[in-house]
Every structure is written in C-alpha cells, then in structure tokens.
C-alpha cells in the first residue's frame, strides 16, 4: 500500500535535488560583480518606486475568501460525484439542499457587489 508512494517520494527528491543542484552550480560559475542597478528587484522592467511591503486593498482578501469557500464546496461535491449511482435520488436531493444554501450566499455576494472589482 504505502510502497505505491515510493515513486512520488523519488519525484520529490529529484525535484528538490534539481533546485539545490541548480543553485550550487550557478553560484560556482557565475560572475559576481554587482552594482546598484543589478541588485534592484526586477519586476517586468518597471522601476520600483516604493517599498514592496505596502498595504494591499481589502478586496484581494474578499476574493481569496470567496475562492476558498467555493473551493471547499467543490471538495464536498467530489466524493458525492464518485458514488452518485449508489446514493441515487436521496444523494441528489441532499446535494441540491447543500448547493441551495451556498447559492443563497452567492446571490448575496452578487447583490452586494462583492464580485465587482471597479
């Protein structure tokens, strides 16, 4: 049973090993002449103007929260979908009740404009 996960462990070790290998080799062969421009953080070619540790809009939090909630909703639907044939009509009704309660929240979010960015 647990032996089935040995390939995943190997995969993990190779991935970590590759990252460490790349860092070590590039630190061995790179030239190390730095100047102010070279050490600046690079972001799509735009010069940084302020500190990166600035406060972000609370709307990002709202979107992330809504994402997590519907993420969990999908997680609940997965085992239901796997055994839907066995659960038959009873399962369908209970899932519809579950979804109805969450759709109430979705309608609330929509009406309150929580999904609009502007």
């Amino acid at each position: 049973m647990i032996e089935a996960y040995v390939p995943i462990l190997l995969f993990l070790l190779v991935a970590i090993g590759f990252a460490i290998f790349t860092l070590i080799v590039s630190s061995l062969i790179q030239s190390s002449r730095y100047n102010k421009v070279k050490l600046e953080p690079y972001e799509c070619g735009i010069e940084p103007v302020t500190d990166a540790r600035d406060r972000y809009s609370v709307r990002y939090y709202l979107i992330a929260m809504l994402f997590v909630i519907f993420d969990v909703e999908t997680v609940f639907m997965f085992p239901w979908a796997v055994i839907m044939d066995e659960l038959a009509l009873f399962g369908l009704i209970e899932m519809l009740v579950f979804l109805f309660i969450l759709v109430l929240g979705y309608v609330y979010a929509w009406r309150k404009g929580a999904l609009e960015w502007a």
Binding site: L62, A64, V72, V82, E94
Partner: protein, 171 residues
C-alpha cells in the same frame, strides 16, 4: 516498522515547523513555514491511508487557506510597531490558559481511549463495489453524517457573508 519511522519523522517535522511558525520574526516566512507544516500533515494522512484527506489537505490548506493568510499579512501594516499594551502580560496569561485547556483536552482523550481497542476500520460500506477510500468516505458523509454535511454549508454561508460584511466598502 517503516510506518513507525515515517510517523516519528513526520511528527518531529510537524512540531518543529509549528515552532518555526510562531517564533520566526518575519510574518511572510512564518506563513511559508505553515505551508511546509501543512504538506507534512498531508504526508501523515497518506501514512494513515487517508488519501482523499491528503489531497484535500494539499489543495485546500496548502493551496487556498495559505493564500488567504498571505493576503491578511499584506493587508495589515507590519512596518508600524505594535502599540504597547497597557498590560503586556495579559497575552501571556491568555496563552497559558488556552494551552492549558488544550493540554487538559488531550489528557482527557488519552485517559478516555486508554485500554480501548481502536475501531479496526470504518464500517463496511453496505453497497457492493464500494472499495476505495474516497467512495467509503463519501458513503459515510452522505448517509450517516448527513446533518453535519448540511450544517457545513451553513458554516460556509456564514463565512461568506462575514467576509463580505467585513470587507465591503462603506458607501
């Protein structure tokens, strides 16, 4: 034997990463330690043969919840030093009380379950052809634990409404 080694290695990793989460002075590093902690817990679930929970742990906790934590870190102003509380020992006392309560709870579980045989496995699924971990979990969740499942949707609704009320712009 192999499972005991895996369990104790993971236990040391999980506890060590948990300590790292609360002792690291930089908040973003603390959140990244939390990701590693969640991943180790996911491996622990695999060792316990709860594969579905392991996948959910990675998808929801290490993926979704941590993004939420990072947003909270970016929302608060970390450059300003926290205001000195009038009584700096209040938090220490609160922490002591809460950790004492958790210790009592754990001790209660140990005392209660000592000497009892652990249930050998989940009750067998009443329908032929249900063999996998996910199927078994689904069968339990949607028959025996139907009410908690529906209550969970109300909990999600409360979380959604709460987030919208907190984050809504005053107009």
């Amino acid at each position: 034997m192999a499972e005991a080694i895996a369990f104790y290695t993971l236990a040391v990793l999980i506890l060590g990463l948990g300590v790292a989460v609360v002792t690291t002075p930089k908040t973003v590093h603390s959140v990244l330690f939390l990701v590693l902690n969640f991943l180790c817990v996911a491996i622990l679930y695999v060792v316990l043969r709860a594969e579905f929970l392991a996948v959910i742990q990675v998808l929801v906790y290490a993926g979704g919840i941590v993004v939420l934590y990072l947003f909270v870190v970016m929302l608060v102003n970390l450059k300003r030093a926290p205001e000195a509380h009038e009584d700096p020992r209040r938090l220490a006392r609160l922490g002591l009380g809460l950790s004492g309560a958790v210790l009592l709870e754990l001790a209660g579980i140990v005392v209660y379950s000592y000497g009892r045989a652990a249930p050998s496995s989940a009750p067998a699924a009443p329908v032929e052809g249900i063999v996998g971990n996910t199927e078994e979990l689904g069968w339990l969740l949607y028959t025996d634990y139907l009410i908690p499942f529906e209550v969970a949707s109300v909990l999600l609704l409360v979380a959604m409404v709460g987030a919208i009320v907190l984050a809504r712009r005053e107009s």
